[in-house]
């Protein structure tokens, strides 16, 4: 069976190389931005690329449980890395917005409060902070597995807010953010008791 072969092949593949690989896209994008590869307006391009990468990784993280439950593919070992890298990209996305895009400190705060799509994006970021801070073995021990799992369900809200943030910032009726949002909603729906069947497995 395919799932067994995947699990077997990955048995000895550790998660730590993911952190090294994760450095490549932002460095590459920054280099592209400095050398003209992101077009004549590199700031927005860099901001959008990082935001989209972060959203893709949040989605990847949400895929891990359903993949195990419905396909038997066990990628649980990589979930922490995927989540932390997603957070790392969200921070970079935010930094590009603060430092390169808006630039004006007073306007940043006004934007956070006045502009719903920024409020929503900020809320997603704030929800991710405790998750990133507790993505380590010591925190799991300290909180206990049950409470830790409860806390990390905040990622459902964060991903949903991230998808809504994307939808709210585009002009006109565009398909791409709707696809992202549909995938996120779908992945969350798979976690409803109706979809998972036996409750004790949650």
């Amino acid at each position: 069976m395919l799932a067994k072969r995947i699990n077997g092949a990955l048995r000895h593949v550790p998660a730590w190389p993911l952190y090294i690989v994760a450095v490549v896209p932002p460095v590459w994008l920054l280099w592209q931005g400095l050398t003209g590869g992101l077009g004549v307006e590199p700031i927005k391009a860099l901001e959008h690329e990082l935001g989209e990468l972060a959203l893709q990784l949040l989605i990847a993280g949400l895929c891990i449980t359903p993949l195990r439950r419905f396909a038997g593919v066990n990628l649980l070992r990589y979930r922490r890395a995927v989540g932390l890298i997603a957070f790392f990209y969200v921070v970079l996305h935010l930094l590009v917005w603060l430092v390169l895009d808006v630039q004006i400190l007073s306007q940043i705060w006004a934007d956070i409060i006045k502009r719903p799509y920024i409020t929503v994006g900020m809320a997603a970021f704030v929800l991710l902070i405790p998750l990133a801070a507790t993505s380590n073995n010591a925190s799991i021990r300290k909180l206990g597995g049950k409470r830790w799992r409860q806390l990390h369900k905040l990622v459902y809200a964060a991903a949903l807010l991230g998808g809504v943030h994307f939808l709210m910032l585009v002009k006109g009726f565009q398909i791409e953010p709707l696809i992202y949002l549909a995938i996120i909603v779908g992945l969350l729906a798979l976690r409803l008791p109706l979809a998972t069947g036996a409750r004790q497995r949650a």
């Binding site: 920054l30 931005g33 400095l34 077009g39 004549v40 307006e41 590199p42 700031i43 927005k44 860099l46 390169l100 630039q103 004006i104 306007q107 006004a110 934007d111 006045k114 502009r115 719903p116 799509y117 709210m168 910032l169 585009v170 002009k171 006109g172 009726f173 565009q174 398909i175």
Partner: protein
């Protein structure tokens, strides 16, 4: 010569035009895709020969005006204008074109006309972006007649003395330098003189965000972002924002058109 009108229109301060590459590779032309580089990639599919513009409505001489016929009746000149997008970025473009007023006079504007409506070509086979209802196609725009007749309002047929590229609205487009860029409708196939305010594409899509007038105004924010500052294209990754000017810097010439109007309401 050609530079004369341009300098008069600038109001004195010398504008440094953006490069050909910047002007022609960063475009909003959703009929060819919503990405900034999509128009350059996709617009070569558009057939622009032959081209004619239907001028109808409240005019003395309605009809289909062939592009060449229009050109043979117009005097082309260069106009170096600031171009401010509603998305808070800007460029300086050295347009070649003629005053819209001259074209309207060619058709003979009737005294009952109060507005001018414009329409962009719609050819789904040649415009991949129109397969999605990002906007209600065809793209339409409108001006009040006095805005349309204003000497700053031009129909552009070129950039840097070359034919206007397809991604920039070939073969002829409107340029209204004191309004947000989306008012400057591209690849025009129809101009109608009307007695009531015509519908406009972005206003139909989102009336809360895009008004009929859409004059550049640093004091009236877009609901989703501030219009107080703008980023000039071409400054690279560390480009500083600069303050946006009322009427995009053309207030001396056009502010009187809006005397007594509440620009917060008529945004």
């Amino acid at each position: 010569g050609l530079g004369q009108g341009a300098r008069a229109a600038e109001g004195g301060d010398a504008l440094e035009p953006n490069s050909w590459d910047e002007i022609t590779s960063y475009n909003n032309y959703y009929e060819f895709g919503t990405g900034k580089e999509d128009p350059k990639r996709n617009a070569d599919q558009l057939t622009i020969e032959p081209w004619s513009v239907k001028i109808d409505g409240l005019v003395d001489r309605p009809g289909d005006y062939a592009f060449d016929e229009i050109l043979s009746n117009m005097t082309l000149e260069e106009r170096i204008y600031r171009f401010r997008c509603v998305e808070a970025w800007s460029m300086v473009v050295p347009w070649t074109g003629f005053e819209l007023a001259d074209l309207l006079e060619l058709a003979g504007v009737q005294s009952s006309a109060k507005y001018v409506a414009f329409e962009t070509v719609l050819r789904p086979d040649e415009m991949p972006g129109t397969r999605y209802n990002v906007l209600d196609w065809p793209y339409v725009e409108g001006l009040r007649l006095d805005e349309a007749m204003h000497p700053l309002t031009i129909m552009a047929t070129g950039i840097y003395d070359r034919d206007i590229p397809k991604q920039n609205g070939a073969p002829l487009r409107l340029v209204v330098p004191w309004k947000y860029g989306f008012k400057s409708i591209k690849s025009i196939v129809r101009i109608s003189l009307t007695d009531s305010e015509p519908p406009t594409a972005w206003n139909k899509a989102n009336p809360r965000e895009y008004g009929f007038y859409s004059n550049v105004n640093p004091e009236v924010d877009h609901p989703r972002w501030s219009q107080a500052t703008e980023r000039e294209i071409g400054g690279g990754l560390f480009s500083k924002r600069k303050p946006t000017l009322m009427f995009n810097g053309y207030g001396e010439e056009v502010a009187s058109l809006y005397a007594g109007m509440d620009l917060q309401k008529n945004f």
